[in-house]
Symmetry: C2
Amino acid sequence: MTERNERTARRGNRQDTRQKVFRAAVELIAEHGYAATTVDAIAERAGVAKGTVFYNFGSKEGLFEALLEHSINMLAEALSDADTGKSALDALDSVVLGQLRFFEEHGAFARVLLAEMWRTVWQEAVALLRQSALGVYASVLRRAAANGEIRADLDVETAATAVFGMVLTVAIERRALYPDRPLERTHATLVELLHGRIN
Amino acid sequence: MTERNERTARRGNRQDTRQKVFRAAVELIAEHGYAATTVDAIAERAGVAKGTVFYNFGSKEGLFEALLEHSINMLAEALSDADTGKSALDALDSVVLGQLRFFEEHGAFARVLLAEMWRTVWQEAVALLRQSALGVYASVLRRAAANGEIRADLDVETAATAVFGMVLTVAIERRALYPDRPLERTHATLVELLHGRIN
DNA sequence: ATCTTTGTACTGACTGGTCAGTTTAAAGAG
DNA sequence: CTCTTTAAACTGACCAGTCAGTACAAAGAT
């Protein structure tokens, strides 16, 4: 099964279709939510026949699962790439900026994440998110604790979730309310809130 | 007649009915989301006929709007009550704790908020949330800025959203993953993240 | 006291529409 | 030939909203 997918992927056609369907689905689900988005609408926006969606993804749920997995992996990669800096706290700043930038580019996915990731149906995707994207934050915070940059007894998992949720919320509000404000200003506010530079 | 008497005994007034429907709706929508929750299911869980829901709330949307407004007002009141402390930063801590406690008690509403508040359909509710609940955070932060407790040029609106989103995310994760951990530990982690006590 | 009316709350069977998923026949591409 | 896509019709389940009717308390009316 995997072999066949890889082979056909190299051929190009199938991958294009999947990409188009992905993009259409993300946009529509971001606008209306998963349950309120119809497969007919996705197919229409993707410029593809309805049957093609089922041929490629099996079901609406299968499509969304593939979508989540793909997007979460992209997000995790972006955060991981941003994880650089002299100190661990510098790295934290960079990862926050990386997350802001990612959601600046993939705002629809930000809304999908916020709206859908808590549903028990997508438990698998949540687990992936936790170990990949949230894992990057946890790793940075653990390093900071080891270096004595933050209190060693800080609850790393909770803190990682806190920072992630904070940035996610702000990124969505940014796009909705202040789309023209420079990203750096938003980033500076978060950094000030985050460690001591607040006063 | 026996049947009549039983009915009379079971019969409640309008407030009771609305209350029952409210509770059922919050629970179900928290579990499955607005779009995936059927009025039939709400009526069944409330122990009420389907028609009663429409009689009392006009439409599924009307029910949800009433629900959002009521819950947001309760949240805003809780945050407002928690807004006390010697310094503005102490007040910030208290409000964070107030929000954690509120969502500890109304966890279902926390998930509803996270999942639904960004949809354009509920724009009115979002506006209410912004001016009431988020307004409490903004007010605290403005006071802190005026007192020189934080940098005067901090972007108050963004910071308010950031803190609110942070606490909301953490509160949901807490209930899902660490329901038995003392609330104070979660609160301490957030406070450390929030101002300088991090190191 | 007993009957009649009125307003309010509630009921549940029913309707009209929507939507995921299927089927089919045909066609394009490697 | 096999894989992929298309268009269009179709099925069957599901669901928001409706409506005719019931239950009953309170307020006259006789």
